[in-house]
Amino acid sequence: MTQRGPLLFIVCLLLIAGIGIASYRHNAYRIPILPGVQQTVWQVEARIEYLAQGSATQALLTLPPEQPGFRIISESGASPGFGFDLVTDDQQRQAHWTKRFAEGEQILFYKLDLVRDPGYEVLPDAPPDEAEQQIWEEPYQTAAQQLSQSVNPISADGRSLARQLVRELNQPTVTQNVALLLERYSPAQLITSLLNDNGIPARTVQVLALEDGRRRQGLQDFVQYWQDDTWQLLDPSGASADPNHVLLWQTTQPSVLEVLGGSRSRVTFSMISQSRPAEVVTQENAPGFAISLYSLPIAEQGMFKLIMLLPIGALVVAIMRILVGLKTSGTFMPVLIALAFLQTDLLPGLVSFVSVVALGLAIRSYLSALNLLLVARIATLVVVVIGIISIFSILSYHLGLMAGLNITFFPMIILAWTIERMSITWEEQGPKEVIMQGGGSLLVATLAFLVMDREIVRHLAFNFPELHLCVLAVILVLGRYTGYRILELRRFAVFNR
């Protein structure tokens, strides 16, 4: 073929672009490839209560940092009467409420929606400074030294040291040294200090244990130590914490909550988890999703869900005509019929389509006696088709068949033309040809429907519209197919002799 080069080039370009963009968007925005993947969404609500002292007041709530495994999809913190702002300085983000004058009990809410996403990664942490030697008071200095000396020889690195310490602290009967230290320090603080003493950078952090339906929860102290170029989380109580359910809340900020102009402040947390289809979650992740169809209003989205299926239908028609060699009446009429089937469902759609066309043909045969101009005849047929469809709808409604109501989705102008063409074919080439072409159209429409109705096809067509570039590439290749059509293998079977 003379011009195969440029075509191949374009086809490759389209394929690379389609698959490339799709996989990029899959990776960057976490759009799932398969439909119906459920993702767990945690809705966390922080409730801040305090007594305002009758002056200007402000509250600062430390917000959870970006962390691997959890993706924040939305947050809000508006409380009536308060100015609200998100503050980002070199440390952790903070929610900032302000009010010129407040007195009495104040309640502020901060809501956070997160998705548990094991593949979610964040920028690596900056390495901490060298571990600092802790200053202990006596007698704790001696106790801490002895504890370190007993644990250090049986550990190899930060991780094993931390584990040994946790074990020491959580034995049923602790040693005297440990008991002494725990009188003064919390387990998390103690482990942090001891790790630092042994040259392992460590810090005490606060985490939220995620548990569905829990209310009024506080944060828990955990330990983070530096190992393998990242902060490792350690539960000082020795329980092996499920990383799916531990949300790191406070790391570098000195405190979780800071209130000015108020007293008796406290923060509690409530949370629920929900399972939602992944694409809905994606939809809510609006900022990184500006170029998707989800950024359209809901009504238009519904329309595009159908429009994005049209290329698939066109592909089916191209395959059936070019590769198989089926005859259809009106090249792309089957796609429109298939689109109508999507609304009516297959069987009701087939039944109503066949009955509308049959009735239309009967009426059309009478019209032919009137000797009308073509345009007037088609216009008449449009009116007739609408009449038939209305009557069908009313009848099916009164018979309690709601499916019949969806018949209005049939493209009426196309139906009118179909009836006209079939009627002419009937007169000129006989009913056999009508049944051949009509049957071909319905067969292709049914196939197109079956493909377009697949959950995965709908999902991919709408969530990865760039895959239509691949559809286009396939159609282009089909456009240069010079081989035999499948039905030609039958047509030319006489050469088998």
């Binding site: 101009l373 345009v375 000129e428 080439q429 059509r485 293998l489 039958r490 030319f492 050469f495």
Partner: protein, 345 residues
Amino acid sequence: MMQDLLSGWISPFRLGELGIMGMNRRNISYISRYNPRHRYPFVDNKLKTKVVAQKARLRVPDLLHVVETQHEIESIDNQIRDLNEFVIKPAQGSGGKGILVIVGRDGDQYVKSSGARLTLADIKRHVTNILSGLHSLGGRPDIVLIEGLVKVSPYFSAISYEGVPDIRIIVFKGYPVMGMLRLATHASDGKANLHQGAVGVGIDIATGRSVAAVKHNQLVTHHPDTGESLQNLVVPDWHTMLLLASRCYEVTGLGYLGCDIVVDAVKGPLLLELNARPGLSIQIANNRGLLARLRHVEGLEDHYLSHEDRVAYAVANFRHYDDAPADHGAATPSTSILTPQGATP
């Protein structure tokens, strides 16, 4: 079991070996490559075909009337009142659609080739339909041609049932590559259109002898209505037809062309119409694939040849009957200079 299922089918490899051309290859490798789009009107519009053919002094059936607008229909009875037999056809019809053949009168009524009677109103409705574009490609408004009915030459009247048989010759780059005689049947309503059930009889380019006959893609040996044997026919005036078909290349500028020729009892071969998308059943009727011959022609160097030379070359190279007396040398001196390098007939 498997054998039974597959008996109605043929493997694509076997078809490829036989050089059978499929629809997709025809469309991509021949029609779209050799037929420039802007030349299509000369074949899609039968009025234009007639005009250019007459300019080139090719013989065509008589054009009696042209109806271009709706209001002319009212005066149509004046035009056809005195006619006993005529053909009404759309200028831009395809596949024989919209052609109405009137073979006689019965009082006020017009008799179709099938024997059915039509009133004047029926005829007017038919003309209206044509004008509003019912039979034309893409539904464009059309014009109506009223032509004199070709009188079947006695040779063909024996084998043809109703209607007028015609001869389809595929002309590739001016070389006639394959021919077929098309006989109307009762099923085809007097039309020599294979889709509508006409019989196609393959004709050997070299000799004008019949090769095989096909109806609805099935081989037949006799005409289904007349019962006449279709074997060992020899088309009279075959060489004249080849020359006529070959001329159509220059007239239309289309490289891949189907020429439909009718034989009038008095006037001899007439160019009926041209087709830029000729069908593929001709291969069945000839028991041959088109591809070998098309590639043969593609392998020829592009020397300017007269239509006589091209026909002579085709006669020498595209013969079906190997047993027929070889008249290679007798064909024409031009064959010797133009034998293609490497290409085998």
